[in-house]
């Protein structure tokens, strides 16, 4: 039995996959003690956890510690002359025209930064030797005054040569053996010192929190007789043994959305789609990810809470559009929906918890897309009058009636999603007409078909359990580890050997890990290289097979780079020299794909189709309401229709129709043009 447990903002979801079938448990999250939710969920499971051979966990513990600034006491050692590396950042402002502009406060206070006398040059050669004695004195003074729990080390050009960083670690550990030390040359050996320092510091800052959380969890699992393997989901969509994750806390920061994409890909592949755009729309935000040939793109960094994090992560774009997004007017009177959200408290007006501002969920109620008595399968009746009052107030300012205002809100929210979807598809050279949208999260299935129509996507797929897609992602995730080396090498025949040598190093490192962690299954290795024209600052990544022994390795690579550059930027310069910067390897051990049973519910009574009206295209139209449980494989329904489920409602717009495929997923396609 494999168990996936995902802690979200509102719910903790558990999915257990065994020969007997699939079991889903949903309990309330317990943010103050996140592990309590985990054990609440385990207690509801009909099996005992001792019978599980694998448990994969995804949590927001690291993310919350960062957002709430509740990480460990962290100090930083950097190169002489660079103590302000975290203060200066990039000297850039994230917004213009602001006389009161303030940077994000660094995670390490300025007085806890120590400068080491040492210097490497850009080639990694030692310019100034590390002054061990001076460093020891400075560290001793700092340790005596503040007693940090964690130490980050980021020395200039250490991505080329870790020798000084390792010595700093030795000196620090000699003074304080229990100190957790994060080295930039191990956490993310890539150039750009601020981004690397920020990542290393963040890892150090989160390490004590993640370490103690996972330690606690492991101890309690032991107590309950769990003897299987305990894994943690990473931001790259793969799982990693928990004890390894404790050293690489920064790699789990966006593991939740990554689990969702992993689950969505699996559902898509099962239904025969390999090129998809995933759309995970919840209460406050929407995550969008482009997937080619069942593989999500990996990016190597992004800003989290305005701090750069370099770590392999699925290329997921988040925008502030969700069911709780509020409609508002700015001082000039312009109309917006989101990114401000009513959250869970007070929530949309229709929740009846005191919210009075109109949210997207209220708009859906007013349009008739959500029926107040059927929300979450009837578990939470909504207040239609409150929704109408809130939306009518918006309509008053728009010069519209309540229903037209609701549709306006719906359209503006879809337009925001459209911009984000374009950004990940058309703007990167991918034509959305070749893709299907996989919709999940509470609000995704309600908006996906409209988005598909706008962007020209060929179909929409709604998985069987759209509300627990992330937890499903956990149980089917691969074992996955990413490795990187940085070295600037021109793509000329003389350098081929050096380039292949770097890949060999990566492979040896991966094989060593494979040996220690010994996951079940057959391992595969993928390689890629980040390339750019001489002088450019940003790289394009290409997959390579460095050990194929093919003689035109280099020529092929260069030609593919020019082509990719043309696709992405509209121009290329074949006469120009190309440089390789980063070399990446990925170790992947696919997990046995337990056969997800097709029909997990006891066959429900086929619900009678009801008819009603929704507001659509400026007027009321007739619409069918169907219960998802009543639909079996092969069943179809023509839009306008709403398919209601205990966790989400799916909209089939006029001109589209939905069918249930053999895997019990809903497929929505255009029927008229």
């Amino acid at each position: 039995m494999r168990i996936g447990i995902e802690i979200g903002g509102t719910f903790t979801d558990l999915v257990a996959l065994s020969e007997q079938g699939l079991q889903v448990v949903k309990v309330s999250s317990t943010p103050s003690e996140p592990d309590r939710g985990v054990f609440d969920a385990l207690d509801r499971l009909s099996h005992v956890v001792g019978g599980a051979d694998t448990l994969v966990h995804g949590s927001t513990v690291a993310t919350n510690a960062l957002l709430e600034r509740k990480g460990g006491r962290t100090a930083l050692v950097t190169t002489r002359g660079f103590r302000d590396i975290l203060e200066l950042q990039r000297e850039l402002k994230s917004r213009n025209y602001d006389l009161s502009y303030a940077r994000t406060t660094p995670l390490v206070p300025r007085e806890w930064v120590i400068e080491a006398n040492e210097r490497l040059n850009a080639a990694g050669a030692v310019v100034d030797q590390l002054d061990d004695a001076a460093l020891e004195t400075d560290l001793r003074r700092l340790f005596d005054t503040v007693e940090p729990e964690s130490l980050a080390v980021c020395l200039l050009h250490a991505y080329q040569n870790p020798v000084h960083e390792r010595r700093v670690r030795d000196i620090a550990l000699a003074l304080r053996p229990a100190l957790k030390v994060s080295l930039s040359s191990e956490i993310m050996p890539e150039y750009r010192e601020y981004e690397r320092a920020s990542t290393t510091v963040m890892n150090a800052y989160l390490a004590p929190v993640v370490d103690s959380y996972l330690g606690r969890l492991q101890a309690q699992l032991d107590q309950r007789g769990f003897r299987g393997r305990f894994y943690v989901m990473q931001s790259n969509g793969g799982m990693l043994p928990a004890d390894r994750s404790r050293q690489h806390a920064v790699r789990t920061l966006v593991s939740g959305p990554a689990a969702g994409v992993t689950g969505a890909i699996s559902a898509a592949v099962a239904s025969g789609f390999r090129n998809v755009i995933t759309l995970d729309m919840g209460g406050t935000s929407t995550d969008i990810c482009l997937v080619n040939d069942a593989t999500a793109q990996i990016i190597t960094g992004k800003l989290i809470d305005r701090l750069p994090v370099l770590a392999p992560m699925l290329d997921i774009t988040a925008i502030g559009a969700g069911g709780g997004s509020i409609a508002w007017f700015d001082t000039a009177g312009m109309f917006h929906v989101g990114p401000r959200s009513a959250g869970a408290q007070p929530g949309p007006a229709c929740y009846g918890r005191g919210g009075t501002e109109a949210t997207l969920t209220d708009a859906c109620v007013v349009m008739g897309l959500i029926r107040p008595q059927r929300f979450l399968g009837g578990a939470m009746p909504l207040d239609r009058d409150a929704a109408t009052r809130a939306v009518a107030a918006v309509g008053h300012r728009l010069g519209f009636g309540a229903e037209a205002a609701a549709e306006g809100m719906f359209r503006v929210a879809c337009a925001n999603m459209l911009q984000a979807t374009r950004q990940v598809s058309i703007e990167r050279g991918y034509d959305p007409r070749d893709y299907a949208i996989v919709a999940y999260g509470g609000a995704g299935p309600l908006h996906a078909a409209v988005l598909a129509a706008e962007i020209g996507a060929r179909a929409v797929l709604v998985p069987t359990h759209p509300g627990v897609t992330s937890a499903m992602g956990l149980v089917i995730a691969d074992f996955r580890l990413d490795y990187v080396r940085s070295r600037v090498l021109t793509l000329v025949p003389e350098n081929v050997e050096a380039i292949c040598g770097l890949f060999s190093d990566l492979r040896s490192e991966a094989e060593a890990d494979l040996k220690t962690m010994a996951p079940d299954g057959a391992a595969s290795f993928d390689y890629s290289v980040d390339l750019r024209y001489v002088g450019q600052g940003y790289e394009l990544s290409l997959d390579v097979q460095p050990f194929s022994g093919s003689g035109d390795f280099l020529a092929n690579l260069v030609a593919r780079f020019h082509e990719l550059h043309r696709i992405r930027f509209g121009h290329a310069n074949p006469a120009q020299t190309v440089r390789a910067i980063n070399y990446r390897a990925r170790l992947r051990v696919p997990q046995p794909q337990a056969n997800v049973p097709q029909d997990v519910k006891s066959a429900g009574v086929k619900g009678a189709t009801e008819w009603g009206e929704i507001f659509w295209g400026g007027g009321r139209i007739r619409c069918a309401y169907v219960s998802r449980e009543s639909m079996g494989p092969g069943d179809t329904i023509a839009g306008a229709a709403l398919i209601e489920d205990h966790s989400a409602t799916t909209l089939v717009p006029p001109g589209w129709s939905a069918r249930v495929d053999a895997r019990s997923a809903l497929i929505i396609e255009r029927t008229s043009t």
Binding site: F82, N96, L99, R110, E111, V488
Partner: protein, 571 residues
């Protein structure tokens, strides 16, 4: 209901509802962002890809700004101005979709010579219905290294002038026009790659806007653009109404003209009348002999940016409408509107004073929103190394502190308000330019002006030369005149540039810039100043003083001098 709101309802835009407007306008802004992403990601020079010294925009059929990416204020509010010069020589109806209009000349609406602007028409069913355009700072267009020449006395000594030109890139860039252009750069390949990136950026913009026209119709797109401009105008008028009517004055100084240190005065009179503002620079010193003049486009942008920052909300839309209620008068022949052919390379600093003078004047009118002066000076160093593979040029601006504002300390060493550009990471600089290493990059304690809200600290960047010979140039200001404080806050600090020869001999260089040759082991140390303080220093919270002491941001002497405390038990 006021006149403007009525006008808005009755105008052409009134045909469109707010929802449709929001959808089209959002798509238009997204188009400018897509243009920016293409430009930055495919450009080659560090000044574009790391420093991000560029802007992208969409214009309406008459060449007025319709939407822009969040980039550099000093560029954006004036791109339409150079486009108008281009259109005078090449009327819109004569343009074809694959034409570009290119210009850098400050006397044709440009900024300074390194900033090349490229515009492309949006051609729909045979007629030009709008434009997309961008501006990017190029590394070198002849003149001094990095097209900077601290002893220039006319624009010809600063580099190559490109008057408004119409070219077809596919045909011309590899032919005579392109060859002439590239031959006038020390880094021809970089110039070409960056121009290609600018053209690719415009192509993206053209495609995006045409898709919008196909989808929503030309009339709706035009109506949406007009409506966005009307909204911005309305919002700005509302903001100006909050300012008491009156006449307010401000002034500030440049250290000199690049040749001597006779101060140059920038003076402004701001007249607020109901919902309009007149900004009059009469009284500003005549144009200077050296490169510190600011062309009209930069001055007008600077004035508008000050009004926008002080009175507007940071998130409000910025377009042509924003500046309709603001009239700017700059006498021809003064420092801020020089006559041809005065040199203008260092316009950032004079434009910075033009901005600061307005900030000072309007601050008197609305003290609750006022802010102290920032260092507002870009100290840029250009290094040129001529080796086996031709020229390698490294260009790096260093920035000072922002002024304190009501409720907020000024940010440390950060891009000034008129600009928004990033540093070049030291590791990138050293990987691309093996002739130097950076020995220090840090903040300067005690450099912020004292106040209830202290000015941001200035910074230090010190380079060491690792080869036999490198030519260097730098440009700066505020080595003599300090940033002013506000509402009782203390003045900020000055900066300086010092050369430390390999024999240990140190020498401070002139305030406005100099050219020098550096040898192995020589160091060039750039120090920028901190911003002015805001409010009475006696009102600064003791906890904050203590925190700053502990962090080493201020010394005990500074705390005692300004805050009457040594900060208690802090180490």
């Amino acid at each position: 209901m006021n006149r403007r709101v009525d006008a808005l309802r009755a105008g052409p835009a009134a045909k469109m509802d707010l929802v449709t407007f929001q959808i089209i306008n959002g798509a238009l802004i997204a188009a400018t962002r897509a243009m920016a992403a293409i430009l930055r990601r495919s450009a080659r020079s560090t000044i574009i890809r790391e420093t991000q010294d560029f802007s992208t925009a969409v214009f309406d059929a008459t060449g007025r700004l319709a939407a822009q990416s969040e980039a550099i204020p000093l560029h954006l509010n004036s791109l339409g101005y150079s486009l108008s010069f281009c259109l005078k020589d090449y009327p819109a109806e004569t343009l074809e979709a694959d034409d570009i209009l290119i210009v850098n000349d400050p006397y044709y609406g440009g900024q300074h010579l390194p900033d090349i602007q490229v515009f492309s028409p949006i051609v729909f069913r045979g007629s030009v219905v709008g434009f997309v355009g961008n501006l990017a700072h190029h590394t070198d267009l002849s003149g001094g290294i990095g097209s900077m020449n601290p002893t220039a006395t006319d624009v010809f000594q600063e580099g190559m002038r490109i008057p408004p030109l119409k070219i077809k890139p596919a045909r011309d860039l590899d032919a005579a026009p392109g060859r002439l252009l590239m031959a006038n750069s020390r880094q021809p390949d970089t110039l070409r790659a960056d121009l290609d990136a600018q053209i690719a950026s415009n192509r993206t913009g053209q495609v995006r806007v045409l898709e919008l026209i196909e989808k929503y119709g030309l009339d709706n797109l035009m109506a949406s653009i007009a409506m966005a401009q009307d909204f911005s105008e309305l919002e700005m008028r509302k903001a100006i109404r909050e300012v008491p009517n009156g006449v307010y004055t401000g002034e500030d100084f440049l250290d000199g003209d690049g040749f001597d240190t006779e101060p140059l005065c920038i003076r402004v009179t701001v007249r607020v009348s109901d919902e309009e503002i007149e900004i009059d620079y009469t009284g500003t010193d005549p144009q200077a002999r050296g490169y510190v003049n600011s062309p009209l486009a930069s001055t007008v942008s600077a004035a508008g940016t000050a009004v926008r920052a002080l009175l507007g909300h940071p998130d409000m839309l910025t377009n042509d409408g924003t500046f309709r209620p603001v009239r700017v008068h700059v006498p021809l022949g003064c420092l801020l509107n020089p006559r041809y052919p005065a040199p203008v390379r260092l316009r950032m600093n004079s434009a910075g004073r033009a901005y600061g003078a307005v900030l000072q004047a309007l601050g008197k009118a609305v003290p609750a929103r006022a802010a102290a002066c920032g260092f507002d000076t870009t100290t840029t160093v250009n290094f040129g190394y001529f080796g086996e593979r031709g020229y390698t040029i490294f260009m790096e601006p260093m920035r000072g502190g922002m002024g304190g504002a009501s409720g907020m300390d000024g940010a440390d060493a950060i891009s000034q308000l008129l600009s928004n550009s990033a540093n070049t990471p030291v590791e990138v600089a050293e990987s691309d330019n093996a002739f130097l290493i950076t020995r220090e990059y840090s903040l300067r304690p005690d450099s912020g002006g004292a106040g209830e809200f202290q000015g941001g600290l200035g910074g230090v960047r010190e380079y060491e030369i690792t080869v036999e010979r490198v030519e260097a140039l730098f440009s700066s200001d505020r080595a003599i005149h300090r940033p002013w404080g506000s509402t009782g806050g203390g003045e900020g600090t000055i900066g300086r540039v010092v050369v430390i020869r390999n024999n240990g001999e140190a020498k401070q260089l002139p305030p406005n810039g100099a050219a020098l040759t550096l040898h192995r082991g020589d160091r060039l140390r750039v120090e920028t100043g901190g911003g002015g303080g805001f409010g009475d220093p006696n009102r600064r919270s003791p906890e904050t003083v203590k925190r700053d002491l502990a962090a080493g941001r201020i010394t005990k002497q500074f705390a005692q001098q300004w805050y009457g405390s040594g900060g208690g038990k802090a180490p």
